[in-house]
């Protein structure tokens, strides 16, 4: 079994253990809840509408910026491994790439993309 296989087994086993632990208390004593017991809590008064909604994510500009940086992370993993081997060339190349992204970050900051209320 390879390393990743072992990691997968552990992942599944831990998830399963959590599910069993969660389920055990209903074995101790099964409960059925009435309608008023299931009302979501907002301070006592029942909600007028369901909570799920087309939520206004006001940080969407920041989320787009994240996508740009996340793509850069994909390149950085192999880059880090070969960095010492490639030397100064790798450093300059990545620096140029990052600087372009940082300009985007500074622009977003200036345009108040990091605040919404």
């Amino acid at each position: 079994m390879g390393g990743l296989g072992a990691a997968l087994v552990v992942l599944l086993a831990a998830g399963l253990a959590a599910l069993v632990a969660r389920w055990l208390s209903s074995v101790l004593e099964p409960t059925t809840l009435t309608v008023p017991e299931r009302v979501p809590f907002t301070g006592g008064m029942p909600p007028q509408v369901h909570a799920w909604n087309r939520f206004h994510i006001r940080y969407y500009v920041m989320a787009l910026l994240f996508l740009a940086f996340d793509m850069e992370m994909v390149f950085m993993y192999p880059w880090a491994v070969v960095f010492v081997e490639e030397g100064i060339v790798a450093l300059v190349e990545m620096l140029m790439f990052i600087l372009i992204l940082v300009v985007g970050m500074v622009y977003t900051w200036r345009e108040r993309g990091f605040q919404w209320a």
């Binding site: 390879g2 390393g3 990743l4 072992a6 990691a7 087994v9 552990v10 992942l11 599944l12 086993a13 831990a14 998830g15 399963l16 253990a17 959590a18 599910l19 632990a21 969660r22 389920w23 055990l24 208390s25 209903s26 101790l28 004593e29 809840l33 017991e37 299931r38 009302v39 979501p40 809590f41 301070g43 369901h50 909570a51 994510i57 940080y59 920041m62 910026l65 994240f66 940086f69 992370m73 950085m76 993993y77 880090a80 491994v81 070969v82 960095f83 010492v84 030397g87 100064i88 450093l91 990545m94 990052i98 940082v102 970050m105 977003t108 900051w109 990091f114 605040q115 919404w116 209320a117």
Partner: protein, 302 residues
């Protein structure tokens, strides 16, 4: 390693670690009833949550409501497998161990989002979207400082990163790394000042509607995430199992304990950050510092 042994080993580390987190949390926390209480309290608390019934809300996203705590626990465990506890003892010291760990920690965002989304209740929902904003802000600096430790090792395997610190630990070689790691790590575990999705202003936020065993599992899983972060932090910044006299596992345990204590202490030492402030902090402070860390460490490694 044999799969059964692997599972028992990771389970044991996370179980003991979660208990240590609870003990430390009590010791640093606002209530002081003496050292004996530190050790007994986690057990009593768990017993209460076992007796308390589990509630659910009307029209929940039932599958997500059940799976969210399990996913959090699974991610903590998966992240832990990449770390070698002694030179020879690692569940999965794969060639891309750093990637495995980073992926597990970033997917914590999904677990917290589901926990907040699934009960169909307003405050948990707001908590969920808050954590999404946080995760997008700490994700890049967190990954960057972890990745930087791979540069001198010329490998993404955690075993190789530990071995590369034989002469000098990364905490000295990359002085910006550990502070950024601790801050973003606490944010991954929505701990202390980063309790933003579970703040008092949201009356518990993502965990508001959870009671009984569901809440207990969620809390234990979160402590597990902290443990995984500490074990990894010890390995990539503090030289993991390297050290004189004591055996390797003892060094790992000792260094993990130090990082855990820092994490838990910070949980009671700082006010909860505003979510907007955190987004600003992540991009304008943490990200540039992490980038400086990458390039400065790169130049030093040449």
């Amino acid at each position: 390693m044999n799969p059964v042994v692997s599972v028992l080993f990771v389970g044991g580390v996370l179980g003991i670690g979660a208990y240590v987190v609870a003990v430390l949390d009590r010791a640093f926390g606002p209530v002081s009833r003496g050292p004996r209480d530190w050790f007994v309290w986690p057990i009593r608390r768990a017993a209460f949550l076992a007796v308390q019934r589990r509630t659910e809300t009307e029209r929940p996203d039932a599958e997500a409501w059940i799976l969210a705590p399990a996913l959090l626990a699974a991610l903590a465990a998966a992240g832990l497998t990449a770390v070698p506890v002694t030179p020879s003892l690692a569940v999965a010291d794969v060639s891309a161990g750093v990637v495995l760990f980073g992926a597990a920690m970033i997917i914590v965002m999904v677990a917290v989002f589901l926990q907040g989304w699934s009960p169909n209740s307003l405050f948990p929902l707001i908590g969920a979207y808050r954590f999404a904003a946080m995760a997008l802000s700490f994700g890049i600096p967190f990954s960057l400082v972890v990745l930087t430790t791979a540069i001198p090792a010329e490998s993404l395997s955690v075993g190789a990163i530990v071995a590369s610190q034989e002469g000098l630990w990364n905490v000295v070689r990359q002085p910006l790394g550990l502070p950024v790691y601790l801050v973003t790590g606490a944010a991954v575990a929505f701990w202390g000042p980063f309790r933003i999705p579970e703040g008092t202003d949201l009356a518990g936020g993502a965990v508001l509607e959870a009671s009984g065993s569901a809440r207990a599992v969620w809390r234990i899983a979160r402590a597990g995430v902290l443990v995984t972060l500490s074990v990894m932090g010890a390995a990539i910044f503090l030289g993991g199992h390297l050290g004189p006299v004591l055996p390797g596992w003892a060094w790992t345990a000792l260094k993990t304990l130090v990082l855990l204590a820092v994490f838990v202490w910070s949980g009671h030492a700082f006010a909860r950050m505003r979510v907007e402030r955190f987004v600003w902090f992540g991009w304008v402070v943490l990200l540039p510092v992490a980038l400086v860390d990458v390039f400065a460490s790169g130049i030093l490694a040449l």
